[in-house]
């Protein structure tokens, strides 16, 4: 009832945690620990998510319809069966696109004002 009425713009700007979780899920379905590891890897360890931050964000993102439990959930035998997999919804993908565009506009603005230290690579 709620999520269908919401437009991507209503979610912006995203918190860093939500943004990174969406980016991590852009590669495919993941369980929570794998999401945290992926985020730590792409940020060179600067963002190390604890369980509280991670699952708090996941809870709100599920409630907001940005992600959902994946059908792979509780599936494979080699996995800890308590682990659930998450997948980005169509709304989630649109939100991620909008946020990325918004950030790109910010970067373009910064570049126009010469605030960026390094010039754009050719």
């Amino acid at each position: 009832m709620r999520s269908r009425e919401l437009r991507p713009a209503d979610f912006l700007p995203l918190t860093p945690a939500v943004l990174h979780i969406l980016l991590a899920l852009a590669d495919g379905d993941q369980h929570g620990y794998a999401i945290a590891q992926a985020i730590e890897a792409v940020t060179d360890g600067t963002i190390r998510m604890g369980p509280g931050t991670l699952y708090g964000s996941i809870g709100r993102m599920v409630a907001g319809g940005l992600i959902e439990e994946s059908s792979r959930s509780r599936g494979r035998s080699d996995d800890d069966e308590r682990r659930r997999f998450y997948r980005m919804t169509a709304l989630g993908r649109r939100v991620l696109e909008s946020e990325t565009e918004r950030l790109a506009r910010v970067v373009a603005l910064a570049r126009a004002k010469n605030v960026l230290r390094r010039p754009e690579p050719a």
Binding site: G50, P51, G52, T53, Y55, G56, G59, V62, A63, D80
Partner: protein, 897 residues
């Protein structure tokens, strides 16, 4: 590991139950996966993870409760938007909501009492900050690896002989060890010695290390430019005149010119080609300027078995333990002792970790300071608890009203506890600032070479420690007032305006207990500071044997290449001393190889004519010095009998020696020393004793009496010497003039360590003084806090007893009697504290015995003086409120009820 999961289980309980049902299991699995990561395998790693989980978990729980609250039926759907709404629609759990409420209320209460809040927060900040700063130093020095790669593998190999555990080996010992041992990936050798840099505008003395190629490699040096030494370049026979310089020297002296690599510099009068630069992040022994091949170590006996001055560092193989390496080296050392009886008799080899060697002497003082600062923190806690308690009593009506309106006891207690924790968190925040300042201060005053250690700074671990201490202190000092408040009797509090008697007495009693605790803890600190003060005084009172006032010293080393003949050295010394004596303001001047207290020294095994020849390796050892004529007069060291060395004791004259009283007493107890003969066991030359001097302390006031001998420098010219100058006044001002005088003899001769004897004396007391200053400051603050504490309690008691005092005075008690009554009550508390505190001090001062000199840990003077000081402070703190009570007008006092 189980413990971490257990802690996390507790954290999970803070979350709303709906959230916990939804994600609890996944979060547990997450933490298990984290625990499997190698970085959390060590105890420190696990502790770091716990801190991370605590911060993350508590913040997350607060957020979930707020979200759950916002999403409760009345608000759901009303706030769509950026933070997506939440699905848990359970009513918010009371715990969190009330916690938030308590916190808000606490902040309001604290803001209403700014004076109390500021005083309490500053008190806590000092305690938490000081504790954290010292934790930072201890953590880095004792528990963190040294700043080299795989530092656990780095060991020091030394010789042991007799009772001495760490005798430096000779270079051939190092070669034998390297060849015969199997425990090491690599063994390296180094010998520190200053170098003369010439061929540039002004000559300069540099700090040098003569090393084997392996040393730099095993310590993990990476050249900034150029390369390190090759193996051949530092071996006898294939050595090359090459140098590696430090980044610091390169920037300071050579203007960071990249062309320095490949060019030549003149060191000790010889040309060396610079082959590489090591970055300033690589440091060894207090920042070395230049590394040269060990084969260029400039000493006549340099690389023979006789010169025991090398420092051998090794890197263990990964599969070898310290114990097995030690066993192997012991066996090798014993073999060498048999093989070379004249030099190695009675010796063995010993392996210990570099870290153990470095922190061995500082462990005890660091723990003493940590203990002292913990006591101070406890006193600060007691002080704030006292403040809280008095304000809790003042707020009894507020509590009673809230209680009457339905607040449970636990609820009221938790309210006060929340206030305490918020207060301590504020103290902790300020404390981190104190810790920053404290760490900077400690690093600047610790008399230890810190180059081996990771940089000491306020980092995550210190922050985590400060946070933990803040929370703990908040609970510790908040508990008592909270319990007290929870016992408030509703009727008592509301029935009379001033509050019920029983609650009042309980409150005063509890505050009395805190005051006793504070005073008792202060006694322990005061006794510690007292013992250290007495130690320092005793050390300063020791008769060094010579006169330290207006005495200037400096050192220089002649380049061996330029002064290769003994006659050249003698000529230089004779001309230099003549020039120095001509400087205006110089009363007398002389040369001496090793100035007392300078840290330089020389020791030789000797034999006495007419006595049975000692066994190899068993010969007695004396402290040797070479001196110029006039040395004894200049330094003020009295000759007991015989004569001073003079100008006629030159290379052609019969060899003579002046010995000290301890020497004479030990060798010739029944007759005169004059005319007796001694020789060094490595020489055939007999020296005739011509004089006996008083004992001089050579290393410091704590020296045991040791045989000492002085030889005229013209009979044993050596390239290293020191100058001693007795000035008419203001010795240090003469420094540049004396240096100019030496430069008039040789323009290229660097002169360094221009210091007064007084500063050398201060240096030898340095570490003791730092320890005393730290403990003394803590003790003073403790005494101040304790004084404030007892003052507060007595003032409060007087205010509470105004009515009683009024009645007494109305019935005829004099002001004096009232004064005695109140002061007597305060001193009863003090007497209790004295009993407990002195007993505690007697139990704990034994732990600092290693840091004391001339006093026992149960020193009667200290144990007698401390109670007097404490009683004086307590009496003053009681007198001020008591005087107010004694001046009460009985009518006014009675009317107040």
């Amino acid at each position: 590991m189980r413990a971490v999961e257990h802690v996390f289980g507790l954290i999970l309980r803070l979350y709303p139950s709906g959230f916990r049902r939804q994600y609890g299991d996944e979060m547990r699995s997450f933490v298990q996966a984290r625990l499997g990561e190698p970085r959390y395998a060590s105890p420190w790693g696990a502790l770091g993870l716990v801190c991370h989980l605590l911060v993350d978990g508590i913040a997350g729980a607060v957020r979930e409760h707020l979200v759950a609250f916002a999403a409760s039926p009345s608000t759901t759907g009303a706030i769509p938007g950026r933070r997506a709404p939440v699905s848990h629609n359970e009513p918010p759990e009371e715990l969190m909501a009330t916690l938030v409420h308590d916190a808000r209320y606490a902040v309001r209460t604290l803001r209403r009492r700014p004076a109390f809040t500021i005083v309490a927060a500053i008190t806590l900040a000092l305690g938490i900050g000081a504790t954290s700063a010292i934790f930072g130093v201890i953590d880095t020095m004792l528990f963190r690896p040294l700043r080299y790669p795989a530092p656990d593998q780095i060991v020091v190999v030394s010789m042991t002989r007799g009772g001495s555990l760490r005798e430096p080996p000779a270079y051939p010992d190092f070669l034998d060890w390297r060849e015969q041992s199997r425990s090491f990936q690599s063994l390296g050798v180094t010998r520190s010695q200053s170098l003369n840099l010439t061929g540039r505008e002004t000559p300069e003395r540099l700090s040098g290390n003569f090393v084997s190629a392996s040393l730099l490699r095993l310590l993990g040096a990476e050249p900034l430019a150029g390369r390190l030494f090759t193996f051949a370049e530092t071996e006898v026979g294939t050595a090359a005149p090459v140098a590696v310089i430090s980044e610091g020297l390169w920037r300071r002296r050579f203007g960071a010119e990249p062309t320095i690599v490949g060019s030549t510099i003149v060191l000790n009068g010889q040309q060396f080609t610079v082959v590489g630069i090591v970055p300033s992040t690589f440091a060894f022994f207090g920042g070395t300027d230049v590394y040269l091949p060990i084969t260029y170590y400039p000493n006549n006996a340099g690389l023979t078995r006789k010169d025991h001055s090398m420092f051998v560092v090794g890197r263990l193989r990964p599969d070898v333990t310290l114990a097995s390496a030690d066993a192997e080296m012991r066996a090798i050392g014993a073999r060498l002792a048999e093989q070379f009886p004249s030099e190695n008799a009675g010796s063995a080899a010993h392996v210990e970790s570099l870290h153990t060697l470095l922190v061995g002497d500082v462990r005890a003082p660091l723990y003493i300071v940590m203990g002292a600062v913990t006591l101070l923190l406890a006193i600060a806690c007691a002080n704030v608890a006292n403040l809280q308690l008095s304000s809790a009593m003042a707020r009894r009506r507020e509590m009673s009203v809230r209680s009457a309106l339905g607040a449970g006891r636990w609820r009221l207690a938790r309210q006060l506890l929340t206030e305490s924790v918020i207060l301590s968190a504020l103290g902790g925040l300020l404390g981190v600032a104190v810790a920053y300042a404290g760490v900077a201060l400690l690093v600047s005053i610790i008399p230890i070479d810190l180059t081996f250690f990771s940089p000491i700074r306020v980092d995550g671990r210190v922050m985590a420690f400060a946070a933990l201490v803040s929370i703990l202190t908040g609970i510790v000092f908040g508990l008592a007032p909270a319990i007290h408040a929870s016992r408030t009797n509703l009727n008592d509090a509301l029935s009379t305006r001033t509050g019920g008697l029983s609650a009042r007495i309980r409150g005063v009693e509890m505050r009395g207990v805190f005051v006793i605790a504070q005073l008792a803890l202060s006694i322990v600190l005061l006794v510690g500071a007292g013992l250290l003060t007495r130690t320092l005084v005793k050390l300063q009172q020791v008769d060094l044997g010579f006169d330290t006032s207006n005495l200037l010293t400096m050192e220089f080393r002649l380049p061996a290449t330029k002064y290769s003949q003994p006659q050249q050295v003698s000529d230089f010394f004779t001309r230099a001393i003549a020039e120095i004596r001509a400087v205006p303001g110089v009363r007398s001047a002389a040369l001496v190889r090793a100035v007392p207290l300078s840290g330089n020294s020389d020791a030789r095994a000797y034999a006495v004519a007419g006595a049975p020849e000692p066994d190899k390796g068993q010969a007695p050892v004396l402290q040797l010095n070479t001196v110029s004529p006039g040395y004894f007069k200049t330094i003020g060291l009295a000759l007991v009998t015989g004569r001073d060395v003079n100008e006629h004791d030159d290379a052609d004259a019969p060899p003579v020696v002046v010995v000290n009283e301890t020497f004479a007493r030990r060798e010739w107890p029944n007759g005169s020393a004059i005319g007796q003969r001694i020789r060094f066991v490595d020489s055939d030359r007999w020296l005739t004793v011509v004089g006996v001097a008083r004992d001089a302390k050579h290393f410091g006031p704590a020296d045991q009496p040791t045989p000492q001998a002085y030889i005229p420098f013209m009979q044993m010219p050596q390239i290293f010497t020191s100058v001693v100058v007795r000035a008419n006044r203001d010795a240090i001002a003469l420094g540049p003039l004396v240096r100019e005088a030496i430069w008039r003899v040789d323009r290229d001769q660097p002169v360094w360590k221009i210091r007064t004897m007084d500063s050398l004396v201060a240096n030898t007391l340095g570490s003791k003084r730092v320890l005393l200053v730290l403990v003394g400051v803590f003790a003073s603050v403790a005494l101040l806090l304790a004084g404030v504490g007892i003052f507060g309690v007595m003032s409060f008691a007087v205010a509470q007893r105004t009515h009683e005092v009024g009645v007494r005075m109305a019935l005829g008690a004099s002001g004096g009697e009232v004064l005695r009554l109140i002061v007597g009550q305060g001193l009863r508390l003090t007497a209790f504290a004295l009993l407990i505190g002195l007993a505690a001090a007697a139990g704990t001062t034994r732990l600092m015995a290693s840091q004391l000199f001339g006093v026992t840990p149960s020193d009667p003077v200290t144990f007698a003086l401390v109670p007097i000081v404490l009683c004086a402070v307590a009496a003053l703190a009681c007198y001020l409120p008591a005087r107010r009570a004694s001046r009460l007008d009985p009518l006014t006092a009675l009317r107040r009820e």
